[in-house]
Symmetry: D2
Subunit: 304 residues, 4 copies
Amino acid sequence: MKGESPVNIDQNRRKIGFLGLGIMGSAIAQNLLKGGFEVTVWNRSPEKCEPLAEIGAHVVRSPCEAVERSFLTFAMLADPAAAESMLFNPDGAIREDGVLNGLSDEKGYIDLSTVDPATSRKVGAAVSARGARFLEAPVSGSKKPAEEGNLVILSAGDESLHQDALPCFEKMGKKIFYLGTLGNGARMKLIVNMVMGEMMIGLCEGLGLAQAAGLEQEDFLNVLDSGALANAMFRLKGPQIGAGQFSPAFPLKHMQKDLRLTLALADEIGLSLPSAAIANECFKKARQLGSSNEDFSAVYKSLV
Amino acid sequence: MKGESPVNIDQNRRKIGFLGLGIMGSAIAQNLLKGGFEVTVWNRSPEKCEPLAEIGAHVVRSPCEAVERSFLTFAMLADPAAAESMLFNPDGAIREDGVLNGLSDEKGYIDLSTVDPATSRKVGAAVSARGARFLEAPVSGSKKPAEEGNLVILSAGDESLHQDALPCFEKMGKKIFYLGTLGNGARMKLIVNMVMGEMMIGLCEGLGLAQAAGLEQEDFLNVLDSGALANAMFRLKGPQIGAGQFSPAFPLKHMQKDLRLTLALADEIGLSLPSAAIANECFKKARQLGSSNEDFSAVYKSLV
Amino acid sequence: MKGESPVNIDQNRRKIGFLGLGIMGSAIAQNLLKGGFEVTVWNRSPEKCEPLAEIGAHVVRSPCEAVERSFLTFAMLADPAAAESMLFNPDGAIREDGVLNGLSDEKGYIDLSTVDPATSRKVGAAVSARGARFLEAPVSGSKKPAEEGNLVILSAGDESLHQDALPCFEKMGKKIFYLGTLGNGARMKLIVNMVMGEMMIGLCEGLGLAQAAGLEQEDFLNVLDSGALANAMFRLKGPQIGAGQFSPAFPLKHMQKDLRLTLALADEIGLSLPSAAIANECFKKARQLGSSNEDFSAVYKSLV
Amino acid sequence: MKGESPVNIDQNRRKIGFLGLGIMGSAIAQNLLKGGFEVTVWNRSPEKCEPLAEIGAHVVRSPCEAVERSFLTFAMLADPAAAESMLFNPDGAIREDGVLNGLSDEKGYIDLSTVDPATSRKVGAAVSARGARFLEAPVSGSKKPAEEGNLVILSAGDESLHQDALPCFEKMGKKIFYLGTLGNGARMKLIVNMVMGEMMIGLCEGLGLAQAAGLEQEDFLNVLDSGALANAMFRLKGPQIGAGQFSPAFPLKHMQKDLRLTLALADEIGLSLPSAAIANECFKKARQLGSSNEDFSAVYKSLV
């Protein structure tokens, strides 16, 4: 279906709102624009809207305006607090110019942010109370997959909204999962990111030990890439780590936040995760050493 | 080159000895036989020689006899002690019917076992003292890659012997690395297995949490396999873990031994590896719970 | 001062409310009664009030009534949610029959529970908004010190209230610290309990390894008690662990909650605590194995 | 018995050899001298013998000479390799001027070093083969207890030798344990040191978090010292850590060696020790950061 223009969708349904234009949000919004949707964008710092305005996005001054102009509105924020701030003020009251005051029966709100299940349920309940539909749809993949429309989409919540959002999802991602009850998308995303964090620590310990033991890091990466452990993340990040190149595709502070949320989920359930707990401490150490805004692979620097 | 018969190798050079017929050794020896080599086999428990005898292997009663009949002799043993036992008695004296008494100038001895660098150097020194050539060549990959001739070979030591062994290596593996100084093969193997152990813990924690959080393990594995973390080990082991199927391709006790040796290497160098240390404790816990001889993926049972 | 009756305190000031009669609360309330205070008690399950009623406590049906009848009211609840429930309903609204509706200018509310700094600040703000005074005063020590009036009291918040509460604190504890700003008591308590959790894991690993290595656990405890590591906790808990006796002085689930809160505090600050993180996972493992309501020393069973 | 002079011991039995004059050895040898024994000392770097010579020790040039002149000879070396070097050359052959060539029937050799059980058994077997008696007697306690004769002595092996050594032990230590079979002393020492390492990490994490959370480290240490966790090590080391004072009473590299040996013991037995494993990695990190020769409390610097 990908690449095809959404001809069988009526004009109204092509009106899409997009809130949050960080690394990921900008790339996704751009793909929606290129895919033929009419996109209205909003971002807290308005200057980030400019590159999208230049390729045809309409820029508004509040989340509420974006929702009012759109059939579906997507949000991509950095963390649970930022995701909630689209709907609520810090004191918990409904945000005057927020998402809720723009919603109505037919509209849909879709949160692509990585949040904990509790935040997702809270947002979903508030949207439902307005008679509108809600979907959580965290995505797996960082900057490059976002730019190339190759994300993995983990959708959960209102199934009719999932169907309505499919033409958009197809511009964003190569794999689209519908996982049922609200909260399941958040949970899946957190668990996948936990595994990603643990694999990154494994890669970094391997690279550090290879070098300390007198082996070439390049040989080590080639050997890894020849066997059953070969994977795209090692292939991409391995040489960058070796070269000391840590410009953020997925900022380290976000990885550490995801580990924190995953460990909180496991704590609630009562499951012990010793390796994830240590991975979390390694990423916290990297924060301590000043790598919060570098790529999450910068955890390497805290290990060697 | 693969699949081609070794026509340009003279008859003498086609005589190969093979010591140690466990899961890995049997598969490799079989590929050498199928590849047109004349293979002489020895194993501590002689009954394991029978399947190979049936397809043409010559069976002998001691490591020494195997070496005497062969141009190159390969060994594939379970751990450093077993690898040393091919040459020495437990008290350190030279083993009467061992490898050393069968060696001479032209011959080569190639140890495929996963051992620590110190063991490798000790064996190498004893072989050199007889005027013969030594190569360590630990392999990466377990039962299936061994059977299919798809191992990754990490050779280090005498480079002329590496050249002479290439026609054999090509029957065993798809990727053949020559890594220089003796010890580098052992180190590389240990570090790769460390990463494998850490990735396995990550997979198991993910599977355990997915289930505890109410997600389908199958969905979780599909999501993992859709993104940058996708790898052959997760693809193979994930469904087996979900199905509680732990028959040993790579026994857990060997994985734990490799982690122990890797941590000893890092300790010697003075490098802290918090995640590998915890992975080691998880595998030890699994030993405590009785999974030593199951597949290393049985570490799952100690986590949930 | 201890043991002396509070003759110089006027009658009104001798009226004390006490909310929460678990293991700790019952022991403390009893010491206040024995110390000559007029104590009004409330507990969610009213039957726990009976033993105190028998020795002179007045029993009421709500937190509000207890506060209304008292100059100072103490609370001792199991966790942050229970501590908040004295003031608020689950939906966040003010609890009709809760603490707040009973407070007035002169009165003081003192929370002895172990909570996180954020909960403490929230409760403090609500109490201040009613014009009343608030003090957090978590205590260090478990069942026996509580019974013997030997707790360590970590008070922080309104200093005039600290002065007014001193005659009560002197019936509860042998050491009374005033730590300044609200939140400092909570933080100090969490950090001390973190060290306690880590020491308990150390003791349990030692006991487990001593036994596995063929030593007498009793010899091990005697050796420990002969050197610089000797401490009252090891002396008390060591033999109980050896005897498999885990009746709860300090329930394991509360220790794990404290570790969770301490790790959240450290995460907020950005400090990596690898050993506390692993201790937390050990206690979580013990929860998984069914020891939530046993003594925190039952973490031993998850280690051996 | 302590302080009493050994009048009922004949002149020959008062002749004592002492090998190894590091921080611990010097202090112990001095107490033997002060206690009325005739002490012959040897050290690899001879200049360390001078302060003892000044107070009456006889200095010799080899371990063998010290043993020849003495009824009992004590050794206090830094690690298993150094302990073995008293008897063997690096290649495993008997050291010409070593302990073994000085021994005979009546004599006793007592190793106070902290070693692994295997080293102890190896040394014991070699001593027995000469017809002499062997005792391992690792000590618990660092510089100050050594100087004050307040060590804890963990003796195991030949019981008649233990009886003969008692007058010496009474000059060194306040508590003397006889633990049976050779190896039990080594094991006990390692396990106690493991607990010490874990407690030190707990103390350091507590001090680090207290400071980061805005509390006074001094308050924290006072609170710790008021409750059931109070112990002499925290009392001694806590203020030194706070003051950044890390001059070595017990060098960090020796603590890390002991953790390594303890973990190896647990690995052999098959016991998982997650917290000790992480403590070991913390001490290794401190080695990485250059604190090998500082006090083991310098692990603090790797945590904050």
